[in-house]
């Protein structure tokens, strides 16, 4: 760690946050977002963005049960504040790398429910042409470099995106989402070191939902203070209450601000929880009902709703209108996905290489 990088320790207050504690102890990043007071309506936008993800995924559950959606589906329900808070700190020129638990990241980045729903239906109109499904959503036009199902596999890629932007003199910050489980992989540690060594414009967003599939954090990590470990690579690293969208946004703005100012990679540990099982296949035998209930009591959507009501920024009518708008949007996405054409079987070999090689691969 070089002396020229003074801000390399985890900030004391945020990293002292314990999962499950109330917002007061876990609000990250003292101080307002760089732009000062957010413009009016911004907080209700955050709420709407979280609700969109929640309602979208609730519909996915129904469609999965009806076998309209297949494969592995990993729900983000409970973690919406992370995607929404972080994405709201990003600009169109920034890049995003995601995981297989990515519906929230994709929608928060601006992919339409229609494009994502069609992809999950395996339709030609999907954001990956039906070839990716739930785990592999992409949208190059939004610099959404999408869903990797190899745990930690997106991290080195994100370092490369950040490197290229820097080498090309572009202002973008690359934001990479990954889990607490991914933090155990060599690819995380190799990437963190590389990014710090090269001072890359990379935001590492660790979604610490306390489980890697059925393995609890403490059975996965000898030292469970992930922010502290990330700081050891020589980058600012903060632990943040991931159930508080405003705290997430504030921390992300500070981090992105630092990165844009040339301070190199930053690490955020968002303490969060998935309310549902790991995937639709998972019987969820390994978690305590009381633990789940305790975290559900911190539902990021309920928390923001209450706060907005308390501050007089939201009333029942407006909430109902928002819900209706989202329901219509999702209805429309489902109908469009059902009506959309399938990718023809004759096109199976498209996109394997950029230029058709002419190779015949089937008898």
């Amino acid at each position: 760690m070089s002396a020229s990088r003074p801000t390399t320790r985890p900030r004391k207050e945020p990293s002292a946050a314990k999962p499950g504690r109330k917002a007061a102890t876990t609000r990250a990043g003292a101080g307002p977002p760089p732009a000062g007071r957010p413009e009016a309506g911004h907080r209700t936008d955050l709420l709407e963005a979280m609700l969109r993800i929640r309602r979208f995924e609730e519909r996915c559950v129904e469609l999965y049960s009806a076998a309209r959606i297949r494969g592995f589906v990993h729900l983000y329900i409970g973690e919406e504040a992370v995607a929404v808070g972080v994405s709201s700190a990003l600009e169109p020129e920034d890049a995003v790398v995601s995981t297989y638990r990515e519906h929230g990241h994709a929608l928060a980045r601006g992919l339409t429910p229609e494009a994502v729903m069609a992809e999950m239906h395996g339709k030609a109109t999907g954001c990956s042409g039906g070839r990716g499904g739930s785990m592999h959503l992409f949208d190059a036009s939004r610099r959404f470099y999408g869903g990797s199902a190899i745990v930690a596999g997106g991290l080195p890629l994100a370092a490369g995106l950040a490197l290229a932007d820097r080498m090309r003199g572009l202002p973008g910050v690359t934001c990479c989402f990954f889990g607490d489980g991914a933090f155990a992989e060599g690819e995380f540690h190799e990437t963190a070191n590389l990014a710090a060594l090269w001072n890359l414009p990379l935001l590492l967003v660790c979604e610490n939902n306390l489980y890697a599939m059925g393995t609890a954090l403490a059975r996965e990590h000898a030292q469970t203070d992930l922010a502290m470990r990330a700081a050891s690579y020589g980058m600012p690293a903060w632990a943040v209450d991931g159930m508080d969208v405003e705290a997430v946004e504030q921390a992300a703005r500070r981090a992105v601000g630092g990165i844009r100012a040339g301070a190199g990679p930053h690490f955020l540990e968002l303490r969060t929880y998935r309310f549902r099982a790991h995937s639709m296949y998972d019987p969820d035998r390994y978690r305590d009902k009381a633990e789940i209930a305790q975290w559900k009591s911190q539902d990021p959507i309920a928390r923001l709703t209450e706060r907005l009501r308390g501050d007089g920024e939201l009333d029942d009518e407006e909430l109902a209108r928002t819900e209706q708008r989202l329901a219509d949007e999702i209805d429309h996405a489902v109908t469009a996905a059902e009506r959309a054409p399938e990718e023809p079987v004759e096109d199976l070999l498209r996109h394997v290489t950029s230029a058709p090689s002419g190779e015949v691969s089937r008898p």
Partner: protein, 330 residues
């Protein structure tokens, strides 16, 4: 798998679990490790209940760190243990390929014979469940390419139940591929079915007109194709390779010597596949026995896509095998 009837007897998954249980009971040097093998019971439920029975020392959950825990398995094998390491799927095993190739497969030779590595690695392989391109591949040939390791592909209940004991008795590394579509295969496990040798392919259905040569998850499709061909008056023999390295050239030569025609069925991509190796063996050893060119039915050369109709089109199907057999016979 021809006896597959749901609900009776045992399943492939249970047979594998029973083999693990037996190994853990009979040899205290044996231990199982991998991601979610303990509390979760294995990502495909194979090791369910073993943690409770044998404790966390011998059924070890690992962090997500394929290279580290496979490498640790190699080290533990060097130092007197008999580890069984589970990797969730073959796509993820690539993170550990360095350890498997550069250490496990190499140490014995590189050390002039001083360091045998008695390690067993199990992993799931294959497509068919719309899991898309990072969960669906059949990379058995990557491993079968490597001298110094043995590669097994149990395709029947009997093999699932009895392949582990001889694998653990092998002084060298053994990689076992379990096709994801087989776990729920159910049937009666004959009580007389004893330990199986690791060296021989098996004739799963005898026939005289054509050899359908396959392994792993494609065996049920080859057997179904043989049934269809029988209705067309073609008597197909089905050869299950079982061991992908070393290949049992003798059984191949005997079968092709009997039928004079061969279709090789392999869920992997055609280029550089096990099917390519088998075809080359037949060309080398049975060229003058052949009455028709060897046919191959493999996956299309594409990362396996998510959409149902695309995935189905990418994979070898029974109808493709039947068509290939007709081309060879007609």
């Amino acid at each position: 798998m021809s006896t597959a009837t749901r609900g009776t007897g045992t399943t492939y998954r249970e047979a594998m679990r029973e083999a693990l249980r037996e190994a853990l009971r009979s040899d205290e040097r044996v231990f199982l490790m991998g991601e979610d093998v303990g509390r979760y019971g294995g990502c495909f439920g194979v090791s369910l209940g073993l943690l409770e029975e044998f404790g966390p020392d011998r059924v070890r959950d690992t962090p997500l760190s394929e290279s580290a825990f496979v490498g640790a398995g190699i080290g533990a094998a060097l130092a007197g243990m008999r580890p069984v390491v589970e990797i969730m799927t073959v796509n993820f095993s690539l993170l550990a390929l360095d350890q498997i190739l550069n250490n496990a497969a190499t140490l014995l030779h590189m050390s002039g014979g001083q360091l045998p590595v008695p390690l067993v690695i199990r992993m799931t392989t294959g497509a068919g469940r719309q899991l898309a391109a990072q969960h669906s591949h059949s990379l058995e040939s990557f491993y079968a390419h490597i001298p110094g390791i043995r590669v097994l592909a149990p395709a029947t209940l009997e093999d699932a139940r009895h392949v582990l004991a001889p694998a653990l008795a092998d002084p060298d590394p053994v990689v076992i591929f379990e096709h994801g579509s087989l776990y729920n295969a159910a049937g009666e496990l004959g009580p007389a079915a004893g330990p199986v040798g690791l060296d021989r392919a098996a004739i799963r259905r005898p026939g005289t007109d054509i050899s359908l040569i396959t392994y792993g998850g494609s065996l049920p499709k080859a057997l179904a194709a043989a049934d269809e061909l029988a209705a067309d008056g073609i008597d197909a023999e089905v050869v299950d390779l079982r061991t992908l390295r070393p290949l049992d050239g003798t059984t191949l030569a005997v079968s092709v010597g009997r039928t004079h025609r061969a279709v090789v069925v392999d869920e992997a991509w055609r280029t550089g596949s096990i099917a390519a190796e088998v075809s080359a063996r037949i060309a080398e050893e049975s060229f003058y026995e052949l009455d028709a060119p060897v046919e191959r039915v493999c996956s299309a050369e594409v990362p396996i896509p998510y959409a149902r109709q695309l995935e189905e089109a990418a994979l070898p199907q029974t109808a493709d095998i039947v068509a290939a057999a007709h081309r060879a016979v007609d």
